[in-house]
């Protein structure tokens, strides 16, 4: 089974649906590292992830840039983290990251490149590329070592969806 799967989504709704499908298949605490430019759809994918993790729909999943970390109740607690405005993180305790990474929930981290190298060895990598001005396609590449159910599902997607 491939540990890396690439696929194309054709709308923000499809990106969100992919996030939801992933969320439903995450069955142990995990770190999801999301890489992609401003406007590529990272928060959109996390909104789907929240749906798949059964965060109640009364919670709007909004940008955590201001607070750095937003926490939501779900099948696992979902920590939505956005490190965009930090140039680099020297002390993970300073921003409260240690709590989110202690392993009781799913930590979805936007701009993980701000973190010290090697901080999180085992993670689900999600790389989104595309043109911020053109919403009709995003290339999404997902890499994970564990998470068998998730990778089974992604590997089982049709040739049409995978690229």
């Amino acid at each position: 089974m491939a540990t890396r799967v690439g696929l194309i989504t054709r709308s923000p709704e499809a990106t969100r649906a992919l996030g939801a499908a992933m969320g439903r298949r995450i069955d142990s605490p995990a770190v999801v590292a999301l890489t992609g430019d401003l406007g590529s759809g990272k928060t959109c994918l996390v909104q789907g992830l929240a749906e798949g993790l059964e965060v109640p729909p009364e919670f709007y999943i909004t940008s955590p840039s201001y607070t750095l970390i937003n926490e939501y109740p779900g099948r696992f607690p979902l920590y939505h983290i956005d490190l965009y405005r930090l140039d680099g993180v020297d002390d993970t305790a300073d921003i409260g990251l240690d709590d989110a990474l202690r392993g009781d929930g799913v930590a979805a981290i936007e701009w993980p490149d701000r973190l010290p190298d090697g901080l999180i060895a085992d993670r689900i990598e999600v790389r989104i590329s595309g043109d911020a001005g053109d919403e009709t396609w995003r290339r999404i590449e997902i890499t994970a070592q564990g998470q068998v159910r998730l990778m089974d599902y992604l590997n089982g997607l049709s040739e049409e969806e995978r690229r």
Partner: protein
């Protein structure tokens, strides 16, 4: 009834004494902006540590300025959430202990409910019901306010808060933090119509500012050799897009609810262009506008004391087991 209010949900340590939910006896706000400045925004753990240092002196100063003794205080109100958990805990635990030691009634207050109560600290407050727009760094929501404890959520942002969009664009333009004041000032020198940024018009009363932020980013990317010279125009064009959408939705909400009064609260309500735009649009259709003084737009404890007064008067009390919360479901 004299209420001591305490607020530590984000980066201001604040305490205030308010009489009967409307007369400010004192209001002290200790800002941490300088500490967070190098990070371009609030750093949660640094905020908590600073709150720990400041909570005792800030409360003492609020009491001293009010001319009252602790024994004169009738109850305590404190922000319970939403906000940064570590920051909230400092004020919440302090208030719990301070009130319990004096056997005073105390109550946890929702931060957003607090912001809406800032209009009751001004002369001639609006009668119920009215429509309120709360716009700040962490929130952008519309409420139909039917009573002191009855605020119906009509819509809110689906991605970035309005104030956050200001911060992000200020950062892209290299203007610094916090972005609201800097963009407002820079925009004064710019032409708001020269560069037109998109206005996201979501159905109903929801907002989206993520696309606008992306559009500004794209503009910078597409004009690498030019944008540095047109910063005032970019700031003005961006600000105009935010102001347009906020004004439109607020007026539409008032019309939907057939309210002839509306309120504009939260840190973004300090933006001069927004105050002017909402004031003018409302005047055109004969709707009265309530906007608190600039000192009451940002986070403060007077608004928490005002909201708490009404909760305590209605007999509400928090228990020692009560805890803070980071995010709340929409109501």
């Amino acid at each position: 009834m004299k209420i001591l209010g305490i607020e530590t949900s984000c980066d201001e340590t604040a305490a205030a004494v308010v009489a009967d939910g409307e007369r400010i006896r004192s209001s002290v706000v200790s800002s941490q902006t300088d500490i967070h400045h190098p990070y371009g925004g609030v750093v949660p753990e640094l905020a908590s540590r600073k709150h720990l240092e400041m909570i005792v002196p800030v409360v003492a100063e609020a009491l001293e300025r009010s001319g009252l003794e602790p024994a004169d205080i009738d109850g305590v109100a404190v922000t319970q959430g939403p906000g940064l958990v570590g920051a909230l805990l400092v004020g919440f635990s302090f208030a719990k202990a301070w009130a319990s030691a004096r056997k005073l009634p105390w109550v946890g207050v929702d931060h957003l409910e607090g912001h809406i109560h800032s209009v009751f600290l001004e002369p001639d407050p609006p009668p119920f019901p009215f429509v309120a727009l709360l716009a700040s760094g962490g929130h952008t929501s519309l409420y139909h306010v039917e009573g002191h404890d009855r605020m119906i959520h009509m819509g809110g942002t689906r991605d970035d808060a309005a104030g956050e969009a200001f911060d992000k664009v200020a950062k892209m333009l290299g203007l610094g933090y916090p972005g609201g004041a800097i963009i407002g000032k820079t925009a004064l020198e710019g032409d708001p119509d020269r560069i037109r940024f998109p206005r996201a018009r979501l159905p109903g009363f929801d907002f989206s500012f993520s696309g606008l932020k992306t559009a500004v980013n794209r503009h910078l990317r597409d004009h690498p050799d030019r944008w540095a010279e047109e910063i005032p125009d970019i700031a003005a064009g961006f600000q105009e897009a935010v102001v347009d959408v906020l004004t439109e939705k607020l007026l539409a909400a008032a019309s939907e609810k057939s309210c002839d009064r509306l309120a504009l609260v939260g840190g973004v309500a300090a933006n001069a262009r927004l105050r002017e735009s909402v004031g003018r649009a409302a005047a055109e259709i004969g709707v009265a506008v309530h906007i608190p003084a600039i000192s009451l737009c940002g986070d403060n404890a007077a608004m928490i004391a005002a909201a708490g007064f009404h909760r305590l008067s209605a007999g509400q009390r928090s228990s020692l087991a009560a805890d803070v919360y980071s995010r709340a479901p929409i109501r």
